[in-house]
């Protein structure tokens, strides 16, 4: 039997506010335990929540970015359960009336575009952290993270492979960092993914029973966990077993998922509207001012790159997969001239990207700037540098040897375009390689290339290849 995997993702993004969602405590990462846990965060008797405008603003921004409905009235509910890292015994979240509903995001997998629907996005508070190091057999609770604002983004079960799920998660990660609502730091838990996975025979309309994989904090784990889980579900069903609704954890050590709790011991969260928080009513003019301040979004920018610069889908997608890279690209293009956009794209996706990968650097930390790259592109465009020489010049730029012209000078990279000088080298090469000349005349085309190579070698790579070709043809033909 052929099986189809069905995946929906719930992504918790930590919002980039300075203070917590319901208190004035700092959200900075890495402070000493419980030093950023105020009276409100530790839920002293009598304390009350007051909503952070910055969190609401970021949620609206996200809703606008995914073309969603922004609910003009949205409501906070209490989700009740006992856990030591949940000081109030309930989490403030949004159930019935979330701030964002009905959005979508486009992804590209193997050149195919697909739209993933976003069911909803709601604001909620994060819990604290349980530290399981040994405190005489006890667990330590740090509430610094308690009350940090989260936007939980829930997709429809629209993905059909781990590759699609990863593409969606990446696109979402790109978007939330792009619009600046989340720092995207997965190690610090700023972007955490839960995956709902089920399988069904191809052609079956109903969904299979799903299991939820909790807290995946890297794209690689997301892929591994879904692949393992789907395989496990298929095997279970093929062996005549049944999949039971459950919450599971992925163990990166073993690459396996294991059951955390079954549906039977699922919590009864007793949601109800939080009486301490009033309905959030959003002002039309506020939403419009947020809309007006929105940056060009990755999808729009990608389409513009294809349209205006003639870039391929692949190149345009790559250049807009990260805000810093896209900015680098547009800055370089504006300096080098729009006519050079394709060349800029090639360099960015070629040398720049290769160097960054090798050194595991982000583009903002690269030794090369848009100004330097634009200078290099200009020297290629005006014929000063051949492709091959340009690579050497780039090495110089990367190594911090100075400006492009200085490097050309110092490394002696200037392209030889003086036809008299080139002719002289060609003559010398032809004289020294009579065998190749005869082979060419006997009809061996390959011999021509060998001669070109010899000329280039003799010119130390500086001869203008187009001119070399032309002169050689003339001489051999004559």
């Amino acid at each position: 039997m052929k099986w189809e995997t069905v995946i929906g993702l719930e992504v918790h993004t930590q919002l980039t506010t300075h203070s917590k969602v319901f208190s004035g405590s700092s959200t900075a990462f890495g402070a000493e335990p419980n030093t950023q846990a105020s009276a409100v965060d530790i839920a002293l008797p009598g304390v009350l929540p007051v909503l952070n405008k910055g969190a609401v603003e970021r949620a609206i921004k996200f809703g606008l970015a995914v073309g969603a409905t922004i609910n003009r009235v949205n409501i906070f509910d209490r989700k009740n359960y006992f856990y030591p890292d949940l000081p109030k015994g309930y989490q403030i979240s949004q159930l019935a009336k979330p701030i964002v509903e009905f959005g979508s995001l486009k992804i590209n997998v193997d050149g195919e575009e697909k739209t993933i629907r976003i069911t909803r996005a709601h604001m909620e508070e994060d819990a604290g952290k349980s530290l399981h190091e040994d405190f005489h057999g006890m667990t330590g609770i740090d509430l610094n993270r308690a009350g940090t604002p989260l936007l939980e983004i829930v997709s429809e079960p629209d993905m059909r492979s781990s590759a699609e799920a990863v593409a969606y998660a990446r696109a979402l990660h790109n978007l939330v960092t792009w619009i600046g609502i989340c720092d995207g730091n997965m190690q610090e838990g700023s972007f955490r993914v839960d995956a709902n996975v089920s399988v069904r025979p191809v052609g079956q309309a109903e969904f299979g029973t799903r299991r939820e994989i909790k807290n995946l904090n890297s794209f690689r784990f997301l892929q591994q966990a879904i692949d393992y889980e789907a395989r496990w579900q298929i095997e279970t069903l093929e062996d005549g077993g049944r999949v039971q609704q459950a919450t599971v954890l992925f163990d990166p050590e073993t690459g396996e998922t294991r059951m955390m709790r079954s549906k039977e011991d699922a919590h009864d969260y007793r949601y109800f509207p939080d009486p301490d928080l009033l309905p959030v009513k959003l002002d039309e003019s506020w939403i419009e001012s947020i809309r007006a301040a929105m940056p060009e979004l990755p999808q729009a920018m990608r389409e513009r790159f294809q349209r205006e610069y003639g870039l391929s889908v692949y190149d345009a997608t790559s250049l807009t997969s990260q805000l810093d890279a896209a900015r680098f690209f547009t800055d370089t293009v504006s300096l080098a001239g729009e006519a050079q956009a394709k060349l800029v794209a090639n360099w960015m996706l070629g040398e720049v990207s290769a160097n960054l990968n090798r050194e595991e650097k982000n583009i903002v930390d690269a030794p090369i700037t848009p100004g330097l790259l634009a200078d290099l592109i200009k020297r290629i465009a005006d014929g000063t540098l051949s492709g091959k020489l340009a690579k050497q010049a780039f090495e110089g730029l990367w190594a911090g040897e100075g400006g492009v012209d200085a490097i050309i000078e110092a490394r002696g990279l200037k392209q030889m375009s003086d036809s008299g000088a080139i002719e002289k080298i060609v003559d010398e090469v032809l004289a020294a390689n009579q065998k190749s000349v005869e082979e060419f005349r006997a009809g061996k085309e390959k011999a021509f290339n060998a001669l070109v190579g010899q000329v280039m070698k003799a010119s130390k790579g500086k001869a203008n290849p187009a001119q070399v070709n032309e002169i050689l043809k003339k001489k051999l033909g004559g």
Binding site: Q36, K53, S130
Partner: protein
Amino acid sequence: MALTHQDVLHIARLARLRVSAEEAETAQTQLNSIFGLIEQMQAINTQDIEPMSHALDVAQRLREDKVTESDQRNKFQTIAPAVENGLYLVPKVIE
């Protein structure tokens, strides 16, 4: 509709209240008499009535995104049952 013994045990567990069999029995009787009173509500047709969560029809006020709190860990932890290295200690949490 009456609460069963099982219902009482279930809600006691949800509310994290240890109850003895005897307490559960007393609770069952009392809760059922209270729910006798509460059931009067069911006689009212409330179709099309908007539920009322708040005493007044006011919108949530928003706070500027500013850090206004400073570290008060020492003060807060002097009243804590068990702390070590600035952490609140609880029996081992098994996930």
